[in-house]
């Protein structure tokens, strides 16, 4: 038997349970979204303020072309992979906590 995550029995119909579950999941979603949004906002800004730096050649591409046309895709895959892993783990933990709470 693993320790229940909360000391009091979890009532899945309580406001507290719902609020905590939504907060945890939203936190994770927002953290992942921020990584993505920062990159989306930063790239045009870099193009705007550092055009010479972004226009330097990397393997024949310009730096900014390489980032947007090629590297952006794997970057997003990594974010989504991390999100899926964490969010499924989170769901399992919630389910476990709720079941522990009910059997108590």
């Amino acid at each position: 038997m693993r320790e229940p995550t909360s000391p009091t029995p979890v009532d899945i119909h309580s406001d507290a349970f719902l609020a905590r579950m939504m907060r945890d999941q939203l936190k994770l979603s927002i953290a992942c979204a921020l990584c993505f949004v920062v990159a989306l906002v930063a790239l045009p800004l870099l193009n705007y303020f550092q055009p010479a730096f972004m226009a330097q050649r990397v393997f024949g591409f310009t730096l900014t072309w390489l980032i947007l046309g090629v590297l952006f895709f794997p970057f997003v895959w990594i974010i989504s992979y991390v999100f899926i892993k964490r969010s499924i783990a989170l769901e399992n933990a919630e389910a476990q906590a709720a079941q522990d709470g009910q059997t108590k």
Binding site: I12, Y48, A55, G60, W65, F73, W77, I79, Y81
Partner: protein, 615 residues
């Protein structure tokens, strides 16, 4: 009869490989439709494929549905025509799924509806809201259908020269309508999954062969000099034809903030009377471009997360976790695809610059189809024919699969939401099934009718409109409904209606004047031109206004940057004002949306035994 004669006439100049590959794609699609017809029996099969589509199949099917004619041909054409800025299209088309994954996919599936209007009604206990949501499904759906139809018409006319534009629209419309009414969602899932792999094959194989013969992506890119380079650093052996006068210059093409984003200001600069005014406008060029870029990004990212025909596919997953996994695989599958269309654009700029001289479907838009034929002139006649046959097959798969998805989501809206829920709530399963088939036929006919009217409009432009409307209506609705308990029906409806309609209105304003300006450009005679403008006073007024106010023009052409926040703010404000009408059991609804399936709270909003199951 006339068509057959025309086709026979045209048949003389057709490459047999192109004809065979295109016909094979159509034949396989129809064949699969008949094959799956026997397997789709219940209403659940037709609307949500029995909610049993596995992650791999569903990811392939969603990707197949999503990669439309705009992706297959339009993106390459745009990169060739406008350069770096057009890269935002493929990147945001693919990455918009991240928002869907992070905020919407899992909870939406858990709610267990059939359609988005189901969700709208169920979340707020409001039949009224279902009606509003249905209108938006049909609306966005038809907006997105028109460019697919245009892709069909122009591709067929390209493959069979001499065939009229409407023939392609009718052929594709008929084939897909038949397929959808035979097998519904379950039937098209298989077809779309097959079409995804066909499209990936069709975009990658020709470009790999081509690149190995004429030089690679980065080598052709290096042939375009940046503003810091005095000569192009093209590696030896990379061939490049002279660019026509209409083509953008290297420095502007390869750098950000080029032609695509400065169009509005360029028009004002041309019209400016004094050198001071010109200089002032020149100084605004870069900041305005930045604004345009951000607004485009918001429209594409939020729009992807709000397209009803994509969202409805998430209901075909068995549970919320599968919905999340599916989304991740979709991002990988479409990301792999989207690396390649820009390669066609870049190599096309070096080798087929003559396309710059024509417009739209006859110009850069056909670079994907045109490039492989180059090999025919380089001692590989057979290879060239086979490869262009493959790309044509891919193009066919592109608009067929997207249209089939749209047709299912719109037929569901008609059959399930309007017939089954509003007109005749007590309908038997057989009646509902029949309603689905009839709806498919009606929507198919309307789509063909609309599609044959839009020959003059640009594919990517129309798709952009559908995205902007979806971004300002469905995305805020879903995002806020899933995560905020305080939302009321009035808040949701106000935000969605105002956001969506204002985006639509501003886009319509720009297209009225754009169509008129495009027509006016063709008139050479000055007297005739002034007569033309006198006949179109509204378009003239708008067009003049844009020239005087380029910033307003940018904000109307790309409304997402203000329409999405406007919609969300309205939802919050109105919901706060009508706080008393928050649904009483909102806690239970939120629990169903967010609790893991393991807790046993899941209850499908639409239950099979409610009389929807056909067994």
């Amino acid at each position: 009869m006339n068509t057959i004669l025309l086709a026979a006439e045209a048949a003389k100049g057709i490459d047999p490989w192109i004809a065979i590959c295109s016909l094979a794609t159509v034949a396989i699609t129809v064949g699969m439709g008949f094959w799956t017809a026997g397997k789709s029996k219940s209403a659940g099969d037709f609307f949500v494929a029995g909610r049993s589509v596995s992650v791999g199949w569903n990811a392939s099917a969603i990707s197949g549905e999503y990669l439309s004619a705009a992706s297959f041909m339009g993106v390459a054409g745009m990169v060739m025509a406008t350069g770096y800025d057009a890269l935002w299209y493929p990147v945001c088309y693919a990455c918009g799924y991240l928002f869907l994954l992070l905020f919407i996919a899992g909870p939406l599936r858990r709610f267990g509806a059939y359609t988005i209007p189901d969700f709208a009604e169920g979340r707020y206990d409001s039949p009224m809201f279902r009606k509003i949501a249905v209108c938006f499904v049909l609306f966005i759906g038809f907006f997105y259908t028109m460019p697919q139809m245009k892709g069909a018409g122009t591709t067929l006319a390209y493959i069979f020269p001499g065939l009229p534009y409407w023939a392609g629209v009718v052929v594709v419309g008929a084939v897909i309508t038949l397929n959808v009414s035979l097998g519904g969602m379950k039937g098209i899932t298989l077809v779309q999954a097959f079409q995804y792999w066909l499209k990936v094959f069709a975009i990658t194989v020709p470009i790999f062969v081509l690149a190995s013969l004429v030089g690679h992506y980065q080598q052709h890119l290096a042939a375009n000099k940046t503003s810091q380079e005095t000569v192009a650093a093209a590696p030896a052996g990379i061939e490049r034809k002279a660019l026509p006068a209409k083509a953008p210059k290297d420095e502007a093409w390869i750098a950000p903030f080029g032609k695509l984003t400065t169009k509005a200001l360029d028009a004002s600069i041309v019209a400016a009377k004094t050198p001071e005014a010109k200089a002032e406008l020149e100084a605004n060029k870069k900041p305005y471009s930045l604004l345009y870029t951000y607004s485009l990004i918001i429209a594409l990212v939020c729009g992807t997360a709000g397209l009803p025909h994509i969202l409805v596919r998430f209901y075909t997953n068995p549970d919320g976790v599968a919905a999340k996994r599916t989304t991740m695989w979709v991002m990988i599958l479409i990301g792999v695809f989207y690396v390649f269309p820009p390669v066609y654009g870049v190599i096309g700029r070096s080798l087929t610059p003559e396309l710059y001289d024509a417009v739209g479907a006859k110009g850069t838009d056909k670079v994907v189809l045109e490039l492989p034929t180059l090999l025919a002139g380089r001692d590989h006649p057979l290879l060239g024919s086979i490869l262009s046959g493959i790309t044509c097959a891919g193009a066919f798969a592109a608009f067929m699969s997207t249209f089939s998805g749209l047709l299912v989501s719109m037929s569901s809206a008609l059959a399930h939401d309007i017939y089954g829920r509003m007109l005749k709530p007590g309908a038997s399963p057989e009646q509902r099934l029949k309603a689905f088939k009839w709806s498919a036929l009606i929507v198919g006919l309307v789509a063909v009718g609309l599609g044959s009217q839009v020959e003059a409009l640009e594919i990517n432009f129309m798709v952009g409109q559908a995205f902007a409307i979806a971004a300002a209506s469905y995305f805020p609705l879903l995002f806020m409904s899933v995560w905020w308990r305080g939302m009321t029906m009035r808040g949701a409806a106000t935000g969605m209606l105002v956001g969506g309609l204002s985006a639509l209105a501003s886009i319509t304003l720009t297209s009225i004047s754009d169509v008129a300006v495009a027509k006016a450009k063709k008139i050479a005679d000055a007297a005739e031109l002034s007569a033309y403008w006198a006949d179109h006073p509204l378009a003239k007024t708008i067009a003049d206004y844009w020239v005087a106010h380029p910033l307003a023009r940018i904000l109307c052409e790309q409304p997402a940057i203000w329409a999405v926040p406007l919609s969300i703010i309205l939802m919050i404000v109105v919901s706060k004002a009508t706080e008393a009408t928050v649904p009483a059991d909102v806690r239970m609804k939120m629990l169903v949306l967010h609790a893991p399936e393991a807790l046993g709270l899941k209850q499908e909003y639409i239950k099979e035994h409610e009389g929807l199951g056909g067994h």
